[in-house]
Symmetry: C2
Subunit: 350 residues, 2 copies
DNA sequence: GTGAAAGCGCTAACAG
DNA sequence: CTGTTAGCGCTTTCAC
């Protein structure tokens, strides 16, 4: 395998009979003055010899790094896939690359990634935290790391946050179900180990209370396994399992709300297996509005969390901060939206 | 914002009263001999002062880079999300990071990424090519870049390939449908711009021919838009649109095969909208076996393409090659598997 | 306008 | 065993 030698600015300099400083100035688009004809000649030579800049050299010198990191639970969750797509869109436009790290809900892994990213001189990270180790985070931030957190709050000064009004989302979901005449409502959720999950439940219950209702006995179902090993189908299986429990109840709920769409798919699936018609017999509602929620039958009524936009926003804020653009505020709060499709039906009488 | 200075091996050296060479030797786990007590003292000091190695410095010196790149059409396709997860799993275990690049089916973007990855001194890339610009690729490979290609072949020496027997997969799909008594079969596909798509069709037709059948008039439906702008729902919408055409036929097919699961979801969805029962009236079959194919109703019968394993394999081969482990063969061919679920039914009489 | 030289953080001959 | 030195590819003062 004949491996060609890479050409550096010194090679170009030698060939052109100038100093490498000059070559650097033209090839790095420096604003420093270089005579027009020299500039052209160097550019020409660079082209001819297929000069490819070595960013490592540049980085070491300038201490600027054009890659950011993203740490999320798992890319196999379409919600995060969408966030990631938004992040990359902005990153690409601004000349950045993005390192993807799946923490698999493992706090240890998350910290390892944070550390190794920093070792690679990554200056900005977008994080959907699970461990929230604020000692490590604070230390790294003191050393210049910029952090934007999505999906939860982190009690560390200077972190940027893209927040989402989960509690309002939960409130909206319950309100919609109540409006459609439902009184006995089932609630199915993954473990409440993330603030977002707790907030949704909170908002949901608030809406019930406002209408003189509450989650009746057995209607609230939470996954028993505290820290699920993160397989791709955990949420789905969880939805199925908890729905089974709901169906064992003496009196079924007339509607079931799931903490996210993936879980709602499990609900839908289990109901279909039991020949329960949706929405005729039981209505189902999800949360997130991932792309697939429009693809299932019946199409899922859900609460939209703007995943793609969150990704774009997170990345914009991060890159602004990294380029010392003044960011107006450290927090942004995004709002939920009700997406009505066909999985929720009207219930005439209680 | 008080930004602490980062501590380098020289700082540690000064504090310990030794040379930075010695510090480097212990902190980089060099096999070079250093007396035990000196070693311990340096390690202690490094810990106390929160020494964090600067990989950029190391990289520049050693010309070894612990990050690889992955270029795929879009992470919003769960198939690629799964591949990515497999890649990262292996990468992480071996101390690598992975840069994710979504080419969005855009050949220009793909080349840009290849180039900029190389500028960042990335030595290995996993590629699901669309453009297949072999000039660029050859040039980069001559400069030492290692490439593993999935989902298609690339006519460039030394590229590693993870292949999949698409044509056999197509053959298996058709065979299954025929076995279940179907004779008039609809075929729905995205544009045949990728070899994989052409191979599936080829295998499918071969099986039909082997049974004295063929795709009848109007039963073969391919997306008109040659190069779809890659939105996340393209495949789904495509499945819907083409199914509508199939339903306009004088005589419906009794089964519909889709080139991938996403498209099959569109088929399922459109049929449901038209009150066509699956599989009673029409059977549906997909390709890929993405996780969601088990979540739709009815659960989708499909051909499994081992996405996660492909990712792991691709990454293993790549890292082996990068560490000069001798790779036994440049190609690996993976085999399809039939996954029977509930979307295909028996048809008693033709 | 252009060049010489120092140095980013690290490793690896080479000397001792 | 430990230290001195050079240099990876690049940018950036500082001279001229």
């Amino acid at each position: 395998m004949p491996m060609n030698k890479r050409v550096t600015i010194h090679d170009i300099a030698r060939i052109a009979g100038v100093s490498s400083a000059t070559v650097s100035r033209v090839l790095s688009n420096s604003s420093y003055p270089v005579s027009e004809k020299l500039r052209e000649r160097i550019q020409q030579l660079a082209e001819e010899h297929h000069y490819i800049p070595n960013m490592i050299g540049k980085q070491l010198k300038t201490d600027r790094n054009m890659t950011i990191g993203v740490i999320i639970p798992t890319i196999s969750n379409p919600f995060y896939a969408s966030v990631m797509l938004g992040v990359e869109e902005i990153a690409r436009r601004r000349g950045y690359h993005v390192l993807l790290c799946n923490s698999l809900q493992d706090g240890k892994l998350e910290e390892d990634y944070l550390q190794t990213l920093f070792e690679k001189q990554v200056k900005g990270v977008i994080l959907s935290s699970i461990s929230g180790n604020s000692k490590l985070i604070s230390r790294l931030m003191k050393l210049g790391l910029q952090l934007v957190v999505i999906e939860q709050q982190l009690d560390v000064p200077d972190v940027l946050q893209i927040e989402f009004d989960y509690s309002r989302g939960g409130y909206m979901a319950a309100s919609h179900l109540i409006e459609q005449g439902h009184r006995r409502i089932g609630y199915v959720t993954a473990p409440l180990d993330r603030p977002s999950r707790r907030l949704i439940l909170q908002g949901f219950q608030e809406a019930l209370r406002a209408h003189g209702l509450s989650l009746e006995d057995g209607c609230y179902q939470v996954s028993e396994s505290e820290s699920p090993i993160y397989t791709g189908t955990f949420e789905f299986e969880n939805g199925k399992r908890l729905t089974r429990k709901l169906l064992e109840l003496q009196e079924h709920p007339t509607a079931i709300f799931a903490c996210n769409d993936l879980t709602a798919f499990g609900v839908l699936h289990e109901l279909a297996e039991h020949q329960v018609k949706v929405p005729d017999a039981i209505s189902v509602m999800g949360f997130d509005n991932i792309e697939f929620s429009q693809m299932v039958t019946p199409p899922l009524t859900t609460i939209k969390q703007p995943d793609y936009e969150m990704g774009k926003m997170a990345c914009s804020m991060l890159l602004d901060k990294l380029s010392d653009v003044t960011v107006d505020s450290l927090q942004v709060m995004l709002q939920p939206k009700l997406v009505v499709r066909e999985s929720v039906g009207k219930r005439s009488s209680g």
